[in-house]
C-alpha cells in the first residue's frame, strides 16, 4: 500500500541526500518526493510517497526518525489531508485541434502558459487523480514533454463545530 509521509527536516545542505540515501540503501522505493522550505526558514518539509506494507512503513518511519536532521516524521496516510501536485505538459497542438485542447484545459481548470507554433504548454494543479485524468485526455494529441513536481500534502485542520 502507498503511504504518504510528512517529514520536517533541518534546512541544511546534505539533508536530502541523507533522507534519500536511507531509502535506497535499505531497499525502499520512493514513489515521489517533494521538498521545500516552510514558513520557518530553518525548516524544510518533505512529502514522501512510499510503497510498502505496514512493517516496511514502520521501519521507514523509525529509521527516518533516527536521522539527526529529521525533526518530525508523520505518516498521514490515514488522516484527512489535502494534496496537490503540479504538472506542466507540452502537447502537440496544430491550429485545427487547438480549440479542442482549450476546452479540455477549461474542464480541468488548468491554464495554458505558453503557445508555440505547433505546441502548447499546459499547467495543471490537483490531486493525483486529476493529474492522471488530464494527462490521459491530452495523450491523443501527442504529449511531447511532461514534468510533475511530486505530491505535496497537508493535514486538514479541525472542523468547525455545528451549532
Amino acid at each position: 500500500m502507498r503511504h504518504t509521509l510528512a517529514v520536517l527536516v533541518e534546512n541544511q545542505p546534505g539533508v536530502l541526500t541523507r533522507v534519500a540515501g536511507l531509502f535506497s540503501r535499505r531497499g525502499y522505493n520512493i514513489e515521489s518526493l517533494a521538498v521545500g522550505q516552510t514558513h520557518e526558514p530553518s525548516i524544510s518539509r518533505m512529502t514522501i510517497v512510499v510503497d510498502g506494507d505496514d512493517r516496511v512503513i514502520e521501519q521507514v518511519t523509525k529509521q527516518l526518525d533516527k536521522l539527526i536532521d529529521v525533526i518530525e516524521v508523520q505518516d498521514i496516510t490515514n488522516v484527512e489531508y489535502v494534496d496537490r501536485e503540479l504538472v506542466l505538459i507540452k502537447v502537440n497542438a496544430e491550429p485545427p485541434v487547438r480549440g479542442e485542447i482549450m476546452q479540455i484545459v477549461d474542464i480541468f481548470r488548468a491554464r495554458i502558459v505558453d503557445i508555440g507554433q505547433r505546441t502548447l504548454i499546459i499547467e495543471c494543479t490537483g490531486d493525483e487523480g486529476k493529474i492522471r485524468a488530464i494527462e490521459k485526455s491530452l495523450k491523443p494529441f501527442g504529449i511531447l514533454e511532461l514534468v510533475r513536481t511530486g505530491k505535496i500534502a497537508m493535514v486538514r485542520g479541525p472542523k468547525y463545530e455545528e451549532d
Binding site: Q59, Q63, K66, I71
Partner: protein, 555 residues
C-alpha cells in the same frame, strides 16, 4: 582571544576529556598535528589509517569512553571507511576527524580530495563538514554528544584545511540541543507491568543478551534479574562478558556457532527476553522457525530495532540499565525448575567438545589455555573467522568490556589494532589478540605501532595456513573445492615479529602452549605466538546458513 581552528579542535578535545587519539598525519591535517605537538593529548601513530579507526574502536570498547581517530584528506580518510563501518555495525562511539582540502578547492577534484562525508553517509550515526571556523566548537561538542548517547555510533567531522587555519573566539557550548535528536519516549508503566507479568507466567524463559548490555553498563542488573527470576542467559558475540560465562545460569553464546544447549533453549522457550540485542541473522538462523513458541520481550534503546526482524509482544524502549532497574523489583518469579533441569540435561548431553589427537595442536586447546593462564581476566580481542568463533566458544568471558570482536561487519584485520586500542586504554590489563593467519595479515603492519609505543599485547595466531572459515564452508557446502583459501606461503610469523622488534614464539605441540603463554605475558614487549594448529579443524556446532537453530552440524 582568537584561536585558530586547529587550536579550537585541540581545546575541544581536551574539554571532552580526550586523553589519547589514534591517527596518521598528512597535508590537510598538518595544522591540527602542529597544535597536537604542544598538547597533552597522547597521539598513537598507526601505520595505516584503518588501524587508527579500529584502535579507536578497541579503545572505546575496552574503556567505555569514546575513541578518537584522525586521518588526512582523500586516501587517509577513505582508509578509515572500514573502521567506521565496523564501529557503526557494532554501535561503538568513535569520532573520526578527517582533513579536507580548503573550502575553495572542494569540488574541483583537488589533490587528495575525496567527498568523505558523502562516502561515509550510510555508515555514520551523523557527520559534519565544517565550512566555517565558528561552527567548529559546536560541531565537536555535538559529535561527542551524538556518538555517546542513545544508541552509540561513529560520528565523522570533516575539516577543510583553511578552516583549521582560520581564527575565531573559542566558546565551547556548555549545552546543545537538537530539534531532531531526542532520546526516545519512555515506555509506560503498563508496558513494564505487562512484561514483568509475562516473565512471571512463563515456564521456559530465556534471556538473550547483546552488546547493549555492555554499552549501557548493565551487567550487574542483568545478573540480578537472572538470579532473582532464575532464568538462563545466552549472549550474542557482542554480549560476551555481559553475563559471567562461568555462572550456572550461563548458556554461552547462541546462533550459528553457539552452544547446542543455548540454541535448544531458545528454540523451545516460551519467552525470550531480548536485552540490548538485535536479532541478527547469525543469531536467529532461519527467521520463520526462530523460537516458534516464544513470546518476545525486547528491551532496546533504539525504537527502530523493535519489530525489525522478529515480532515483539512486549517492547520496552529505553536504556537497558534503566529498564532493568525498573523491571527487576516488579518482576514476578516464574517457576523454572523443570526448565532448568531440562537445560542441565542438554548441557550434559551436548557440551562444547573437540577431539584431542596425539601430536596435533588443537585451536580449542590453545584458547582454553589462554583462559586458564589469564584466569579469564584478560582483555581479548579477536580477528574474524574460525579463530573468532573458537575464542567465543572456549574463552569464557566473565566481565564486560573484556571480549572485543567485530560482530556486525565481520572485519578481518580488526583484532590487532583493536588490541592496541584496548591496551592503550587499559595499560595494566593483559591483552590478547586471538588471530588467524589470514586475518592478521590484513593489518600486521600495526606490529610496528605496538612496538613503538611499548604496548605489551600478545598475539596468538591460530595458524592453519588457510582462510579457515571460508575453507570450512567450502568443505561443507562446495564439495571440498578449496578455491583460493590455501595460504600455503604464509610468512614466518616469528621472523615477522622479530623484524618489527617484537618477540616471536613458535608452538607446535600441546605441552609448549602453557610455557609460551606465560613467557608472552611476562614479556614487556609485544609478543607473537605462532600456534601451528591442525590444518582442517572445523568450528562446531554449526547452524548451516538459512537453517533453523535446532539443525546444528557437529559438536
Amino acid at each position: 582571544m582568537k584561536l585558530t581552528g586547529a587550536e579550537i579542535i585541540v581545546k575541544a578535545l581536551e574539554a571532552e576529556g580526550v586523553e589519547v587519539v589514534f591517527g596518521y598525519p598528512g597535508g590537510a591535517v598538518l595544522p591540527l598535528y602542529d597544535k597536537l605537538y604542544d598538547s597533552s593529548i597522547r597521539h598513537i601513530l598507526v601505520r595505516h589509517e584503518q588501524g587508527a579507526a579500529h584502535a579507536a574502536d578497541g579503545y572505546a570498547r575496552a574503556t567505555g569512553k569514546p575513541g578518537v581517530c584522525i586521518a588526512t584528506s582523500g586516501p587517509g580518510a577513505t582508509n578509515l571507511v572500514t573502521g567506521i563501518a565496523n564501529a557503526y555495525m557494532d554501535s561503538i562511539p568513535i569520532i573520526a576527524l578527517t582533513g579536507q582540502v580548503a573550502v575553495s578547492a572542494i569540488g574541483r577534484d583537488s589533490f587528495q580530495e575525496a567527498d568523505i562525508t558523502g562516502i561515509t553517509l550510510p555508515i555514520v550515526k551523523h557527520s559534519y563538514l565544517v565550512k566555517d571556523v565558528r561552527q567548529l566548537a559546536p560541531a565537536i561538542r555535538s559529535a561527542f554528544h551524538i556518538a555517546t548517547t542513545g544508541r552509540p555510533g561513529p560520528v565523522l567531522i570533516d575539516l577543510p584545511k583553511d578552516v583549521t587555519l582560520a581564527q575565531a573566539e573559542f566558546e565551547y557550548p556548555p549545552q546543545i540541543s537538537f530539534r531532531g535528536y531526542r532520546l526516545p519516549e519512555k515506555y509506560s508503566a503498563t508496558q513494564i507491568y505487562q512484561a514483568a507479568k509475562a516473565i512471571g507466567e512463563s515456564r521456559r524463559p530465556v534471556i538473550y543478551a547483546g552488546g547493549g548490555v555492555v554499552s549501557s553498563g548493565a551487567a550487574r542488573e542483568l545478573l540480578e534479574l537472572a538470579e532473582k527470576a532464575q532464568i538462563p542467559v545466552t549472549t550474542t558475540l557482542l554480549g560476551k562478558g555481559a553475563f559471567p560465562e562461568t555462572h550456572p545460569l550461563s548458556l554461552g553464546m547462541l546462533g550459528m556457532h553457539g552452544t547446542k544447549y543455548a540454541n535448544y533453549a531458545v528454540s523451545y522457550s516460551d519467552l525470550i527476553i531480548a536485552v540490548g540485542a538485535r536479532f541478527d541473522d547469525r543469531v536467529t538462523g532461519r527467521l520463520d522457525t526462530f523460537a516458534p513458541h516464544a513470546q518476545v520481550i525486547h528491551i532496546d534503546i533504539d525504537p527502530a530495532e523493535i519489530g525489525k526482524n522478529v515480532r515483539v509482544h512486549y517492547p520496552l524502549v529505553g536504556d537497558v540499565k534503566e529498564v532493568l532497574r525498573d523491571l527487576i523489583p516488579r518482576v514476578e518469579v516464574p517457576q523454572t525448575r523443570e526448565w532448568l533441569e531440562q537445560i542441565a540435561q542438554w548441557k550434559a548431553e551436548h557440551p562444547l567438545t573437540y577431539a584431542n589427537e596425539e601430536g596435533i595442536l588443537k585451536p580449542q586447546y590453545v584458547i582454553e589455555q589462554i583462559w586458564e593462564v589469564t584466569k579469564g581476566e584478560a582483555v581479548i580481542t579477536t580477528e574474524v573467522g574460525q579463530n573468532q568463533m573458537w575464542a567465543a566458544q572456549y574463552y569464557k568471558a566473565i566481565h564486560p568490556r573484556t571480549f572485543i570482536s567485530s560482530g556486525g561487519l565481520g572485519t578481518m584485520g580488526f583484532g590487532l589494532p583493536a588490541a592496541i586500542g584496548a591496551q592503550v586504554g587499559r595499560p595494566d590489563a593483559v591483552v590478547f589478540d586471538i588471530a588467524g593467519d589470514g586475518s592478521i595479515q590484513m593489518t600486521s603492519q600495526e606490529l610496528a605501532t605496538a612496538v613503538q609505543f611499548r604496548l605489551p599485547i600478545n598475539i596468538a595466531i591460530l595458524n592453519n595456513r588457510y582462510l579457515g572459515m571460508v575453507r570450512q564452508w567450502q568443505e561443507l557446502f562446495h564439495g571440498r573445492r578449496y578455491s583460493q583459501t590455501d595460504l600455503a606461503d604464509t610468512p614466518d610469523f616469528v621472523k615477522l615479529a622479530e623484524a618489527y622488534g617484537a618477540e616471536g614464539i613458535r608452538v607446535t605441540r600441546a605441552e609448549e602452549v602453557r610455557p609460551a603463554l606465560e613467557q608472552a605475558i611476562a614479556s614487556p614487549k609485544p609478543v607473537v605466538i605462532d600456534f601451528v594448529i591442525a590444518r582442517e579443524e572445523n568450528v562446531f556446532p554449526m547452524v548451516p546458513p538459512g537453517e533453523s537453530l535446532t539443525k546444528m552440524l557437529g559438536g
